[in-house]
């Protein structure tokens, strides 16, 4: 066993709170799980040994909060270095919405019951998060409630911190809401951030995970969704790579007539790495899932996408689509993309495709011949590659805030 893991388990054994019964199970699983190496299939392209090498503290929070998103008018839940900041967070919530802190203790039996229920056990760092996450929030939306204001969960991380946060959310029947998970920080830190969402029948969730930690950050996390009959999910993931960024997505279509849309943009530069593993489970008939993954890699960066679609035997009449398009800005960048289809039903439509393209030289010349500098041309072309997905975002404030940030990132990239 790695010494890091041994230390972590030792620390986790000291955690004692209302979630301890759940943590125990994950801890015992952890003890039986091997530290991921290149030989571990789910970690083939993503080395995690820098976690062992780096030194982190469990510090008292004192960094700055994540960047404000103008015109969002959100209900804010703010964490700085993994610790809830009441002062910067909203205190009053509209009717039908209850938000409590994980650290406050048990709020209801469903919270205890649903902790680590949607998130599959196979995620190694998910187990670590189970054992160590004492911070985070519990969001409960009553049946039939429509929460107009988006809920923003803003997390920022500073140098040297090690943090583990967890989000638990339940949407009652026919409820609807929008959640924005925002993660920021570019210094060497280590965080795991996992979120579990339960959508009851006919509930609707619009979701954003703005995984914008970059450069030296080490970030491991996941979003796990459980959809009951007729539930609808629209999720957007924006990923900036870092020395180690890994996100696991699980969308479990557990009822009939469920519908999920998952749009992903990731942009990597320098030596950054971003690894996305998505798993779509269709266990019931008449479901629909659509994934659009667009990725731009520059310099020596490394993009990994593993997309699994699992259609169970009785899940007939499923429409599942997965489309992965990659833009390679440099010969030294790497893209590893792998679809994994497991289809046991016979009456389904499943389409998947992956392409890797380079910046179109002809288009570059055309734009430059109109007076655009190389850099300007490149920004336009890169943005053109992902534009469509930004335009599809329902929340205009998020889209508007993102556009210049994405452009800035393109401007820094080099075509080579």
């Amino acid at each position: 066993m790695s010494s890091w893991l041994a230390d972590t388990i030792e620390r986790a054994e000291e955690v004692n709170d209302w979630l301890s019964p759940k943590r125990k199970k994950s801890l015992s699983l952890l003890k039986d799980t091997r530290w991921p190496t290149r030989k571990t299939e789910a970690w083939r392209y993503t080395p995690v040994n820098n976690i062992e090498r780096a030194r982190f503290n469990v510090v008292e929070s004192q960094g700055a909060p994540a960047t404000d998103i103008p015109h969002l008018n959100a209900i804010d839940i703010v964490f700085i270095d993994g610790i809830y900041n009441a002062e910067l967070s909203s205190k009053h919530f509209p009717e039908g919405l209850t938000i409590t802190q994980l650290s406050e203790g048990n709020s209801s039996s469903w919270a205890l019951d649903s902790f680590s229920k949607t998130k599959p056990e196979r995620h190694f760092f998910g187990l670590i998060n189970d054992a160590l996450a004492t911070q985070g929030c519990i969001i409960d939306i009553a049946a039939d409630a429509t929460i107009e204001q988006p809920i923003r969960i803003a997390q920022s991380f500073k140098q040297g911190t090690q943090t583990h946060t967890r989000i638990l959310m339940r949407l009652g029947e026919r409820a609807s809401a929008c959640v924005i998970e925002q993660l920021e920080g570019d210094e060497l830190c280590f965080n795991t951030s996992f979120a579990e969402y339960q959508l009851a029948a006919s509930a609707k969730l619009e979701h954003y995970r703005l995984a914008m930690q970059c450069a030296d950050a080490i970030s491991l996390g996941g979003c796990h969704f459980h959809l009951a009959e007729k539930a609808k999910l629209n999720s957007n993931l924006i990923g900036f790579g870092s020395q180690l960024s890994r996100v696991d997505y699980d969308i479990i279509h557990a009822g009939q007539f469920t519908d999920s849309k998952f749009n992903v943009i990731y942009l990597l530069d320098g030596k950054e790495l971003f690894d996305l593993h998505s798993a779509i489970e269709h266990t019931q008939p008449n479901g629909k899932s659509e994934q659009n993954i667009r990725c731009i890699v520059a310099d020596h960066s490394n993009a990994i996408f593993n997309g699994r679609i699992h259609i169970h035997r009785d899940a007939q009449k499923i429409l599942a689509e997965m489309n992965n398009r990659n833009l390679l800005m440099s010969e030294n960048a790497q893209i590893n993309t792998k679809p994994e289809l497991e289809i046991y039903a016979d009456d389904v439509r499943c389409a998947h495709g992956a392409t890797i393209a380079e910046i179109d030289k002809e288009a570059m010349f055309y734009l430059q011949s109109r007076g655009l500098s190389r850099n300007e041309a490149q920004v336009l072309l890169s943005f053109g590659f992902i534009n469509e997905l930004v335009d599809l975002m329902n929340n205009q404030a998020v889209a508007q805030w993102l556009r210049p940030i994405l452009k800035q990132r393109f401007a820094a990239m080099e075509v080579s």
Binding site: D360, K361, E362, A363, F365, Y366, L367, Q368, S369, R370, G371, L372, S373, R374, E376, L380, L381, F383, G384, F385, I386, N387, E388
Partner: protein, 256 residues
């Protein structure tokens, strides 16, 4: 305005332009005609600086500035414009956004202030109308899914917006229906102000009926083999290229 002296251009290790001379003065319209594969587009790419079009000899200047020494975008902001024979489709980049960045770059280079969003929109709409494209084309991806004729009109729209000094029009008339030809010709004529110069590459007399060139040149085998007034275009239209003494279709092959 444009001065080309003894230009030699290599493409894929082959000499395509070979000792070409051309001098265009401010306000003049020159037409270049010539058989397929003669090197007309090659000349326009060499002037605009396209990768792979290697100038191995000679010089080219725009208003006494050495073109060949400049980056592609510098040539453009110095006032050179090429309406492409085959405009490129760029999905995902809206025509409007592209035009705005391009016009901003041009104005910056000239020391003029940027247009405000509303000023720009007004100009773009006017230019769009002038070439008879529906305003919805401003929102579409650059040339994305445009028909052949729509692409050509989009090139003319860009020319109008960018206000260049020298416009090279590479077969802007090919593939156009009769009405569109008139629109493109009118677009070009509207930009003639006595100072702006034009180099019009075409295969047909018809366009020249509308835009009345000052000179007509025949480009064959990498150089200008004959120059004359507008009447030369009429002769070519009637007789083709074979009557030209100095042009023999097999000459290039025979000398190799």
């Amino acid at each position: 305005m444009l001065k080309i002296t003894d230009l030699q251009v290599k493409v894929a290790d082959k000499d395509i332009i070979n000792g070409l001379n051309l001098h265009i003065k401010p306000g003049e319209v020159h037409a270049i005609m010539g058989p397929n594969g003669a090197g007309k587009s090659t000349l326009s790419y060499a002037l605009t600086g396209r990768d792979g079009y290697q100038v191995t000899r000679g010089s080219a200047s725009l208003d006494d500035q050495d073109l060949l020494d400049m980056e592609i975008d510098q040539r453009a902001t110095a006032g050179l414009f090429l309406a492409f024979q085959y405009p490129v489709e760029i999905p995902g980049v809206s025509n409007m956004e592209f035009l705005k960045v391009a016009v901003d770059a041009q104005r910056l280079a000239r020391g003029a202030t940027k247009y405000s969003a509303s000023e720009f929109l007004k100009l773009a709409k006017a230019a769009c109308k002038q070439v008879n494209l529906p305003l919805s084309f401003l929102k579409r991806g650059v040339n994305e899914g445009f028909s052949g004729g729509e692409k050509k009109r989009n090139e003319i729209m860009q020319m109008i917006m960018l206000e260049p000094k020298l416009c090279i029009l590479d077969e802007s008339d090919s593939g156009l229906d009769i009405d569109a030809l008139k629109i493109v010709a009118d677009g070009i004529n509207s930009q003639r102000d006595g100072k702006r110069s034009f180099l019009v590459i075409t295969h047909y007399q018809r366009l020249l009926d509308y835009i009345k060139p000052d000179y007509v040149h025949v480009l064959a085998d990498g150089k200008i083999v004959k120059s004359g007034g507008p009447e030369l275009a009429l002769e070519l239209e009637a007789q083709g290229y074979s009557w030209l003494e100095s042009y023999d279709r097999n000459a290039g092959d025979a000398s190799e």
